[in-house]
């Protein structure tokens, strides 16, 4: 660590780890319910475990984004954070919001609007937290007077994700209109501004890890942001299929979502090019695994698997089936979970005592078990979904009968999800087994930029 205030990131990461662990508990519970019968039917029915599973995902990934930002911005701006105190207040408020929301869901306290289930008071706390966060980051950059392109993309992404939360606060009497604007938040978050956040982290990590030329990396970043804007914004239209909007959204959605993988392909090509060009000088090879892994898995999960069923004439049959769950799991994991884990892995050696820079063997096990587990889960959902589409939609079998016929895929889902969970458990153990340390590893050196902070120790 070069800046003392970067240590707040550790606590954000720690909270994110705990929530990630909890998310998997509820994910596994939900997966076993596909097999049935469900002994917890009247205590923890599927709707409750599912809502907690998805909400924990959003909360822990955002916690990770915030922690990673608090780590990255001091380094990029070469300055301490504007206010460490505000950062802690924000973390405490945010965690309280997350924890009480989840306890609330256990008692069915929520608004039941998919992915935006948070009750209004919680939504307001989210807004307050985002404002504190943006203020703190903004002031840090302003005071330092140094604003890099990577930061620019990151801040643009974070600010837009706050702005786009506002449609979620409004109330609509027409369900179709409500769906229309719900996607302004969800889709534009996930396929727009979060993608920019991911791109910024990816650029930062590649510059640090591969020593690639900042100028070149930043040009790539402009290309990606451009593509995200063009494809991501109009790609929202693929959520407007079959919900009661005018017909013209169908071709628009088909065309622009087909473009969406381009941005991801750009990112993957960019990661590969950076790796080739630099000769991988950085000792933290585990972080490099996560970084390149994130770019590749995002291209696979978000890009290719999304493309697989985004065309209207295909989507007509696959819409609302487990095929969507296939795409959702691989996309979120590759693009967002993995980039947060990459940032954590990169920052961790500098924040803890006695950790080897290049990563422990436990860390590598965590990486490979997670990758293979998630790949298996994706295949399970895919095969289950294809079976479901064929039996239910093409052959005309009833929903419940079709679900009985694809049970073997749910067994496979549980098996691969267990592999994934072991991988995550190892990551969490590896995270917590070294005590945090908050001394500076070196004096702030405004002249040096491309050296990583920890490689000099």
């Amino acid at each position: 660590m070069r800046y003392k205030s970067q240590s707040v990131a550790y606590w954000y990461f720690a909270v994110a780890m705990v929530l990630f662990g909890l998310q998997l508990v509820f994910g596994l519970l939900s997966a076993t319910k596909y097999l049935g019968p469900d002994p917890l039917l009247y205590i923890l029915p599927f709707d409750v475990t599912k809502v907690i599973h998805t909400n924990l995902l959003i909360v822990w990934v955002l916690t990770g984004f915030m922690g990673a930002t608090y780590w990255m911005v001091p380094e990029e701006s070469r300055s301490e954070l504007h206010s460490v105190k505000l950062a802690y207040i924000q973390l405490i408020l945010w965690t309280l919001m997350g924890v009480t929301a989840i306890i609330g869901y256990l008692f069915r306290y929520g608004t039941g609007n998919k992915l935006l289930e948070q009750p209004l008071p919680h939504k307001l706390v989210i807004v307050v937290c985002m404002l504190i966060f943006l203020y703190n980051i903004g002031m840090t950059i302003k005071k330092s007077g140094r604003f890099t392109t990577t930061e620019g993309v990151l801040v643009l992404g974070l600010a837009s994700s706050a702005v786009l939360f506002f449609p979620a606060l409004l109330h609509y009497e027409n369900y179709t209109v409500s769906i229309f604007y719900r996607w302004w938040t969800i889709h534009l978050w996930v396929e727009g501004v979060w993608m920019m956040i991911m791109g910024a982290f990816l650029a930062y990590l590649l510059i640090r890890l591969s020593g690639a030329d900042r100028e070149v990396m930043e040009k790539w970043l402009y290309v990606i942001v451009g593509l995200v804007f063009i494809a991501g914004i109009l790609g929202t239209a693929h959520h407007y299929y079959w919900v009661g909007v005018p017909q013209y959204w169908l071709p628009i959605g088909g065309f622009f979502s087909a473009l969406e993988p381009l941005a991801l392909a750009g990112m993957a090509a960019y990661a590969y090019a950076a790796m080739r060009r630099s000769g991988l000088a950085h000792p933290n090879t585990l972080a490099l695994h996560w970084t390149i892994g994130s770019a590749v898995f995002a291209l696979f999960g978000a890009g290719l698997l999304g493309l697989a069923h985004t065309w209207p004439s295909v989507n007509k049959w696959t819409h609302g089936t487990l095929v969507t769950a296939m795409h959702g799991h691989a996309a979120f994991y590759g693009a967002y979970a993995m980039i947060v884990l990459a940032m954590i892995t990169y920052a961790l050696p500098a924040m803890t005592h006695g950790r080897r820079e290049q990563g422990s063997s436990m860390g590598y096990w965590a990486f490979w078990l997670q990758i293979s587990g998630m790949f298996g889960m994706t295949l399970s959902f895919a095969t289950a979904g294809i079976g479901q589409v064929y039996l239910e939609r093409i052959m005309g079998m009833g929903y419940l009968d079709a679900q009985l016929k694809i049970q073997v895929h749910f067994l496979m889902l549980i098996a691969t999800a267990s592999v994934f969970t072991i991988g995550v458990a190892l990551f969490i153990v590896d995270f917590f087994r070294y005590a945090p340390r908050f001394q500076l590893s070196q004096e702030p050196d405004p002249e040096l930029d491309t050296t990583s902070p920890s490689s000099a120790t």
Partner: protein
């Protein structure tokens, strides 16, 4: 721009004039009980339970009322492996939720789903069912993989087509396989059961023969109630009473001819 135009079209596409206070309250009930985190609506939701976009076209209001009061009377968790937990909805909540689902079923959503999504249903390869929406677009177009039935065909073949294409489709609730009772009793063996009913002495309806009994069951489902908590409550059958209006006399003749083939 397109958003503005969408707003211009929303009233017509979504029949917003039909959004009554009951529909709005029903939407709130839908949210309050977190229905979307198991079911899907317009295909959006959690994929764990059946899509309900067109459910009011498949199931009558009395059926849905009874179902929501206690789903365990309709499905067995040991057999189906999934069961909706009892939600303890008030009568008003149930009625308004059905009003909301009925409004949803009338939204013009580009003809989706392309084929009715049944909750349970017998396995019918190449079942020639299309949605009401698609039929409006091109009534003569058969769905993929289906042998079209024409006027020249046997009356029973035409009846079989009506069985699958009536709205709501008969095969959404009735299978034709022996012993496979779904939301309604199986059609297998209906002729022998009808004969027994007519001879039993406690039959109160107007019919005097099997054909008459089947016709009566189609146009006036409550005239004679089949025993079973899944089929009726308070002297009312759960079967929709709309077939007398939605089917022509000729179609009902075809249906009766088809059903009398199930001895």
């Amino acid at each position: 721009m397109l958003t503005l135009d969408s707003h211009r079209q929303f009233p017509e596409l979504t029949q917003s004039k039909n959004i009554t206070p009951a529909v709005i309250h029903g939407k709130d009930v839908w949210h309050k009980y977190n229905c979307i985190n198991c079911h899907t609506l317009f295909g959006e939701g959690a994929y764990y339970a059946p899509d309900l976009t067109k459910i009011t076209q498949h199931r009558s209001e009395p059926y849905l009322q009874a179902y929501m009061r206690d789903p365990s009377r309709f499905y067995d968790e040991q057999t189906h492996r999934r069961l909706m937990p009892k939600q303890d909805l008030s009568d008003e909540e149930i009625t308004d939720l059905i009003a909301f689902l009925d409004w949803v079923s009338n939204v013009d959503n580009q003809g989706w789903p392309p084929r009715p999504i049944l909750v349970t249903g017998s396995f019918v390869p190449g079942a020639d069912t299309v949605t009401a929406a698609e039929r409006d677009i091109d009534p003569d177009k058969p769905p993929p993989g289906v042998t079209p039935v024409t006027e020249a065909d046997d009356i029973r073949a035409r009846g079989q087509k009506v069985f699958r294409m009536a709205s709501p489709a008969c095969n959404a609730c009735h299978s034709t396989a022996p012993g496979a009772d779904m939301a309604g009793p199986t059609m297998a063996g209906i002729v022998s059961r009808a004969t027994q009913t007519l001879q039993s002495g406690d039959y109160q309806g107007a019919a005097t023969d099997v054909e008459g009994y089947i016709r009566e069951s189609i146009v006036d489902p409550s005239a004679h109630l089949v025993e079973g908590a899944m089929y009726s409550a308070n002297g009312t059958s759960f079967m929709p009473t709309t077939y007398n209006d939605s089917l022509t006399d000729e179609e009902i003749d075809q249906l009766v001819a088809y059903l009398t083939t199930f001895k």
